[in-house]
Symmetry: C2
Subunit: 225 residues, 2 copies
DNA sequence: AAGAGTTGTATTGGATGCAATCAAGCATTA
DNA sequence: TAATGCTTGATTGCATCCAATACAACTCTT
């Protein structure tokens, strides 16, 4: 009658998923940087499992674009060159405004207010990690209401894959006193309040485009991952 | 000194990838239909391997959206409901025109001519499978010149995930004498010859949109996969 | 007779061990 | 001295075995 020893630790088939989740968090948090080697056995030991669920996890993350696998050779944290990163931003530039527009009629007033609070909170923080987290929260929350599983999943993956470069860029150029990010966020909130889907779409497209161009102007970011 | 027995059959770490490729082909060819169960051991026996590389293959295909895995329960060929399928078409509607526009200045005249030949060949075939194959070839060839790895890979995945429904739709409504598909294809070829990126983009967006609406008008397609 | 609990079987998940492969360092030779 | 071939250690890939889970059929109770 297989009673679980403790309250948790009982889902048999979730070992790979659990490892994938932890490794994903570690990569997104910057504890592994792009290009660094991942050894199966290290992970297995670190997470208290055998190499088998580790390989499952690596496969999942490979599919999400966070890990690169080479047969018989090993796994690395995925690394983008400037061109690939620009591509992903261009994809975001087309998908996210559309996704936002689907959310415009569905967001509750209170939810829009909360977005405004997030935008304000970002303005008044000096901590890079908190800035990144709030930014992610702001955008993903503005996408979360519509029931569009596919689009939301694709969007999250795009954010995840570009996260390391956003982090380095923010670290390097955050203090230069450009308030465009915040202005754009507040413009989006205002458009949402007006229920102005097209307006929100355009500001967001410009927002992502501006970020893409900034990043393209500083290719040195990709040497310092 | 591990000499390969024959000229092929030597890449050690490709067993999972090989199985994934064959299973992917089988799904795209319609030999497995959406919702049908996939038993690990069956596949292992069919492809002459153990269950381990099969599990690798299933993970890969899950990531591509072709297979659905449930822990401790099993694997099924992925099945879309009408809303999900419509979402994927809307994503295509935004990505593919952009991808095509990147290819406009790069396609050689001869390559555009070949696209024209493909469009004509489609007009004169009665075979559904050949129609589907030529259609896929036409579009993917028009995207293949630009060096945009990410976008191309995403596009192929979107095509793959919607393939079964395109097949059923074509089988059911192909003979109704609507020539829009072919007109649009030829319009695209003409725009490419003129090097008219925006024109090509617009026709393609309309092409995908029209297909999406047709599919939405016939939800019974999703009962007959 | 209907429902809940129980048992049995089929199938998946995970651990271990061995084989195949790769990469780096050493020896050898031109 | 530099380049090439070989050998060895480290690491991944795969097969087999065992454990855990889910589902269905059955039994027992009310």
């Amino acid at each position: 009658m297989t009673e679980p020893t403790t309250v948790s630790e009982r889902t048999h088939g979730a070992s790979g998923a659990r490892i994938a989740a932890e490794l994903r968090d570690a990569i997104l948090a910057g504890r592994y940087s792009p290009g660094s080697r991942i050894r199966q056995e290290d992970l297995a030991e670190a997470y208290g499992a055998s190499r088998l669920p580790v390989r499952d996890a690596l496969r999942m993350l490979e599919a999400e674009g966070l890990v690169t696998l080479v047969a018989n050779t090993g796994a690395w944290v995925a690394k983008l060159n400037p061109a690939e990163c620009e591509e992903l931003y261009q994809v975001r530039e087309r998908l996210e405004p559309f996704l936002l527009s689907l959310n415009v009629p569905l967001l509750q007033e209170e939810q829009i207010d909360e977005l405004g609070l997030l935008a304000s909170a970002m303005e008044h923080t000096d901590d890079v990690e908190r800035f990144l987290q709030l930014d992610r929260e702001f955008h993903l929350a503005s996408y979360a209401v519509a029931e569009t599983t596919m689009l939301q999943e694709m969007t999250v993956r795009l954010w995840n894959r570009t996260q390391p470069y956003r982090r380095v860029y923010t670290r390097m150029f955050r203090a230069e006193g450009d308030h465009s990010v915040h202005y754009e966020h507040h413009l989006i909130v205002a458009a949402l309040h007006r229920r102005d889907a097209e307006g929100a779409e355009r500001v967001l497209a410009g927002h992502i485009r501006r970020t893409r161009l900034e990043l393209a102007r500083h290719p040195e970011v990709f040497d310092l991952v």
